[in-house]
């Protein structure tokens, strides 16, 4: 199968390129950017009306269009920007850097150019780009703009638990999503256990989700690629924006370091939950202190998270550009208590808490080798670390006893890669490259220190750091063969861990065939391989989730996905797509039955098992990107199963997030220049859950039938009929956000008032068994019950945002 695809790729390349030889051709190339800020525009369209040929810009705004000598009628456009028209006689290779200005109303001149990037003209399927302006309008929990929750509103994407950031894309699990911030993987994307994402909307300029039909340049995960690009920094003038919300405030500054040569962007966000809670906690401690006059107690809570993004963009010359971007963010959650006796001789200090966070850095070098060949070289670093610590020290007169325990785990990556973008002619766009990532995993180490007059112990348990190396190369060609457009590619990857080396060839194919003027049939087939795994508990999302590598025992995860769909643009305003998909997964991981994710004594490999998964479904999506009313409607009908030899007696069972129906609406209506309203409504079939539905009394073991007292006697056994055999109640929620904007000459302010879960739906977070005890006339009756815990009732929010 893989050989066939390789041959297909080579043949298609060889036989299609000669058609462009024999004519005098010249190349128009350059960068497309925002005229106001100098920010590069991704996927902006450049279209020659005369030859009906066009291209779109890459991630760095670069485009290259090779045309026949003679008159050209060039149209350039980008959604939300005024288009440009350029007529000239093409007689030599020409560099044109295009600057587009933002607009409000659609202009006639753009229509032709826009067609280039219309959904029915793109070979890529299963991909959605969400403008950051849309994301910022979406109502969010406590008013905190959340990039990942915006993606959860797309068809084929499901959220995990109530308010959680986990993304379950086409039946995959969260570890199967490659989330890239400026090209660097971010391993933990959540604050406060998943209620907020680590991506500060003010620092972001673009978000793209790819659910299937993965081009060969992507690899390393089975289910999705989420590319989040940070702002580059305004090259022209100094600007800022920020906001004050209920739980956090933000400030972003950007501007030129040297006008049109270098720029910076720095963005920070911090919560002040601690500042709000501190007086309450201290008052509570003070009230307890009065009851115990022999000592005084001081409390120092640490409860906050922060994010810091920074980027420098340096245009060395026309052909070279450097980007240095960094992100750091962390959650700090802990308490410290100090109890001091009134005579000051006895002091007891206790500290405990959990800290977790990411650091990412990327240095990228854009090199325009010639007007057809663009190269990007990246060196990146990413680290995720979680630490749970507890300490206690007791001083009695001169004697000091101290205990310290710390549990740490995490992952650290250092990577280098080169990507080339070669546009030999309008019928081919060839991308190729390669790279290598070095991973260091720390799947859980426990350090214990005990110090006293008689003891001095310092030991570490479970520290099993593992290193691995993951090289890859790829080549893909976006080609046009008559009416048929195709993206044919091959991704090859390897993984060296210990003495084991895994390798994989992953063919990729995407096809687009126009059925009529505005309607195209699309198909894709992709294979993917994943070498790293996230050990996560299905019941709760915690920062203690562990990233671990494939090993000699734990095989890499593999998948293949096929999709077939149609795409259409209706009345130049509505993008409509319908896609059916089937995804088959091998060697997916899960905790074994009864396994406990806590504890460091057992090798993590003993706790997990590998099996198979499959998911299939149908996604419908209608999106309106422009006009007074924007938004989308998405519906997914899907099935999602897992099978492990060690779970559910080896029988196939529904995945926890098997959701038959999933319906989402996002609507943003600009009532006037000053006022807009945005609402989202989502409905989903309840999550699958395992419940102990039956119980019976029996001898503990079969041989105990004749003597039940050997080895334990009788006991009541709870029977879970089948894994995930029950459904939680359906999930639905309405969120609304109202915005009042006032623009002045150099300052714009927006008041944002919203409500999460507007009609106060009690959505299930988890179910548990409990006992109702009633006492009537001295007669106690115990009645078992199942109960549902719901996390968020209606939660109002208000925020003040500004721009200058």
């Amino acid at each position: 199968m893989q050989k066939t695809f390789t041959l297909l790729f080579l043949f298609s390349f060889l036989f299609s390129t000669p058609s462009v030889f024999g004519q005098q051709k010249y190349t128009i190339s350059g960068f497309i950017e925002d005229a106001g800020s100098g920010e590069k525009l991704i996927s902006a369209a450049v279209y020659d009306n005369k030859s009906a040929s066009g291209v779109v810009s890459n991630t760095y705004g670069f485009y290259s269009l090779t045309l026949s000598r003679g008159q050209v009628n060039l149209l350039m456009s980008y959604v939300g920007y005024n288009g440009q028209k350029l007529d000239f006689n093409l007689r030599r290779d020409t560099i044109i850097n295009i600057k587009l200005k933002p607009n409000i109303e659609l202009q006639e001149v753009e229509i032709s150019a826009k067609k280039q990037n219309r959904i029915e003209n793109r070979t890529q399927m299963s991909q959605v780009t969400v403008p950051i302006t849309t994301i910022k309008k979406i109502p969010a929990l406590l008013g905190e703009v959340d990039v990942l929750k915006a993606l959860q509103l797309l068809p084929g994407v499901q959220a995990g638990g109530e308010g959680q950031n986990g993304l379950y894309v086409r039946g995959g699990s969260p570890d199967q999503n490659l989330i890239l911030l400026d090209g660097v993987p971010v391993y933990n994307v959540s604050h406060i256990g998943g209620f907020f994402s680590v991506f500060n909307g003010d620092a972001i300029r673009n978000v793209t989700l790819t659910k299937g039909g993965f081009p060969a340049r992507y690899g390393g995960r089975l289910s999705s690629i989420i590319e989040i690009d940070m702002k580059e920094g305004n090259m022209k003038e100094f600007h800022g924006e920020g906001g004050i919300g209920l739980i956090a405030s933000r400030l972003t500054l950007e501007g030129p370091i040297a006008k049109d040569k270098a720029s910076f962007m720095v963005s920070a966000r911090r919560t002040y939950i601690d500042a709000l809670l501190n007086p309450i906690i201290k008052a509570s401690a003070s009230s307890r202190q009065n009851a115990n006059a022999n000592s005084t107690t001081s409390v120092s809570p640490r409860l906050y998270f922060y994010d810091l993004n920074a980027k420098i963009n340096w245009k060395l010359n026309q052909n070279h550009r450097l980007y240095l971007s960094a992100y750091t963010g962390a959650d700090v959650f802990g308490f410290g208590f100090t109890q001091t006796s009134t005579d000051g001789k006895n002091i007891n200090k206790t500290n405990g808490g959990t800290d977790w966070g990411n650091i990412t850095t990327a240095l990228r070098w854009n090199w325009l080798l010639n007007n057809k060949l663009f190269a990007n070289t990246s060196v990146t670093y990413s680290r995720y670390k979680v630490a749970i610590l507890a300490s206690n020290s007791t001083q009695r007169d001169t004697s000091i006893t101290s205990n310290y325990a710390e549990y740490t785990s995490g992952i650290e990556d250092l990577a280098a890669k080169m990507d080339f973008d070669y546009v030999p002619n309008p019928h081919h766009r060839i991308r190729f490259g390669g790279g290598v990532t070095g991973h260091t995993y720390n799947p859980g180490a426990f350090q214990l220190q005990l110090t006293s007059a008689r003891t001095n112990l310092d030991t570490t348990v479970g520290s099993t750091k593992t290193n691995s190396l993951e090289p890859f190369i790829y080549v893909e060609d976006d080609m046009q063969l008559g009416l048929l457009k195709a993206n044919v590619g091959l991704h090859a990857s390897g993984f060296a861990v210990g003495s084991t080396f895994y390798q994989s060839l992953q063919p990729r194919l995407g096809l687009n065939y126009p059925l009529s003027k505005d309607l195209a049939l699309k198909a894709s087939f992709t294979t993917m391989r994943q070498y790293i795994n996230l050990l996560t508990n299905e019941r709760i999302g915690l920062p203690t989730d562990l990233w671990v590598p494939s090993t000699e025992r734990i095989k890499p995860q593999d998948s293949w996905q096929a999709a077939l769909g149609v795409a259409k643009t209706y009345k130049d305003e509505y993008e409509i797509s319908a896609e059916a998909y089937y995804k088959d997964m091998k060697n997916v991981i899960s905790y074994k039955e009864g396994a406990n994710f806590l504890g460091v004594n057992n090798d993590w490999q003993d706790k997990i098992t590998q099996g198979n998964g499959k998911s299939y479904g149908l996604e419908l999506f209608v999106q309106k990107k422009e006009g007074k009313l924007t938004g989308w409607v998405g519906y997914t009908l899907s099935w999602n199963f897992r099978q492990f030899d060690d779970i559910n007696n080896g029988k196939v069972y529904p995945f926890k997030y098997d959701r038959r129906h999933d319906f989402k609406v996002l609507g943003s209506y600009k009532v006037s220049e000053k006022f807009s309203i945005t609402g989202t409504w989502q409905y989903g079939t309840g999550n699958a859950v395992s419940l102990p539905e039956t119980t019976y009394g029996a001898p503990q073991r079969p041989e105990n039938v004749d003597n039940p007292y050997i080895g334990g006697g009788y006991r009541a056994l709870e029977i879970v009929g089948s894994k995930n055999g029950y459904r939680m109640p359906a999930y639905h929620r309405l969120d609304v956000n109202l915005e009042w904007t006032k623009k002045k000459a150099k300052f714009t302010r927006t008041w944002s008032v919203g409500a999460y879960n507007l009609y106060n739906r009690a959505n299930p977070m988890f179910l548990f068994r409990d006992t109702n005890v009633t006492d009537v006339n001295g007669q106690t009756t115990e009645t078992p019950v199942f109960r549902q815990f719901s996390l968020f009732p209606i939660i109002p929010s208000v925020a003040y945002n500004f721009k200058f």
Binding site: L598, E693, T783, L791
Partner: protein, 323 residues
């Protein structure tokens, strides 16, 4: 402005209506009771058929829904006294155990159950219940060739005088069983034992715990040892206060679980069916996960068609020697 006012009013009213319909108490109490479909009681069968034994003892009870009133425990279970239990050997009626009390149905056989590889089916019916059924093939016995032992001697006792049959496995006496696996079969083994002190007649029980690498939860999985000679080590511990035939007290006359030289040990090697092995694995995980909110749910292995429980077969060989 009118439009804006109308929009805001609409959402404010919707929100107010929702909040007022759910009382303030509910707003601050995020826990509500939910219903699951009622469970129809099913028959439960637990038991084993042992080659060489002259009786069949089966336990029959019934299940109840998880939300049914009343809590089950070791002494309160739902016996079924009017069940009809039939045991078929190779599809021919072999025995009809009768209810003897305490949930047990027993059939005393005219002769011992043979060691041949027959197929046994147990069928249980009772008024108002769906008939349940389980089928097991008899397993091949494994003959112990010899037994060796390493005595862990209490510090204060002279060598080969008192053997530790108590305490942690690493401190207990270690027995090594030498036997040959039956070829061309997937076999699973467990061991248990008894001992009789010198000059006494009371039979006391020994539990065998093994930390052999091929052992999972005290069951030896011989899938990779097909037909080979097997050396299997177990640490044996006296089961204090659970002696057969009464007697009470601790396990020996040496004090603290030690027994003196001359004690008669009987080690039984039990070859068990795959279903038994799977049940024991799932049961061990089940026990560890019980009442642990962070543990993944466990599904107990069940081989009873239309019901619950476990029916297994076993073929046993006992080797007796003196310390």
């Amino acid at each position: 402005m009118k439009k804006i006012t109308k929009i805001i009013s609409f959402f404010a009213l919707l929100s107010l209506a929702a909040c007022s319909s759910s009382s303030l108490e509910k707003y601050f109490t995020p826990i509500v009771d939910i219903q699951i479909p009622p469970q129809t009681p099913k028959l439960v069968l637990v038991g084993r058929i042992v080659a060489g034994s002259s009786n069949i003892s089966l336990f029959v009870t019934k299940s109840r829904g998880a939300l049914d009133t009343g809590i089950l425990n070791y002494s309160r279970f739902d016996t079924v006294t009017n069940a009809t239990v039939k045991v078929f050997k190779d599809n021919v009626l072999f025995a009809t155990p009768q209810y003897v009390g305490n949930g047990q149905y027993v059939a005393n056989l005219p002769k011992a159950i043979p060691y041949d590889l027959a197929t046994y089916t147990v069928q249980v019916s009772a008024p108002n219940f769906t008939i349940i059924e389980a089928t097991q093939k008899m397993v091949s016995p494994a003959k112990i060739d010899s037994v060796g032992f390493i005595a862990k001697v209490k510090v204060s006792k002279p060598l080969n005088d008192f053997f530790d049959l108590l305490g942690d496995p690493q401190d207990a006496s270690q027995f090594t069983i030498y036997f040959r696996d039956t070829p061309n079969e997937a076999n699973y083994y467990s061991a248990y034992g008894t001992y009789i002190l010198p000059n006494q007649t009371t039979i006391r029980n020994l539990r065998c715990d093994s930390r052999d690498p091929a052992t999972e939860n005290n069951y030896l999985n011989a899938k990779n040892l097909d037909g080979k000679s097997i050396t299997w080590s177990t640490h044996s511990r006296a089961l204090i206060g659970r002696q057969r035939g009464g007697g009470g007290g601790h396990g020996g006359n040496g004090g603290n679980g030690t027994v003196q030289a001359g004690t008669q040990i009987s080690l039984t090697l039990s070859s068990v069916s795959l279903d038994r092995y799977l049940f024991e694995q799932s049961y061990s995980i089940y026990q560890n996960a019980l009442n642990n909110p962070f543990a993944e749910p466990v599904i107990l292995h069940n081989n009873i068609k239309n019901g619950f429980g476990i029916l297994t077969t076993a073929a046993e060989f006992t080797y007796t020697f003196k310390l």
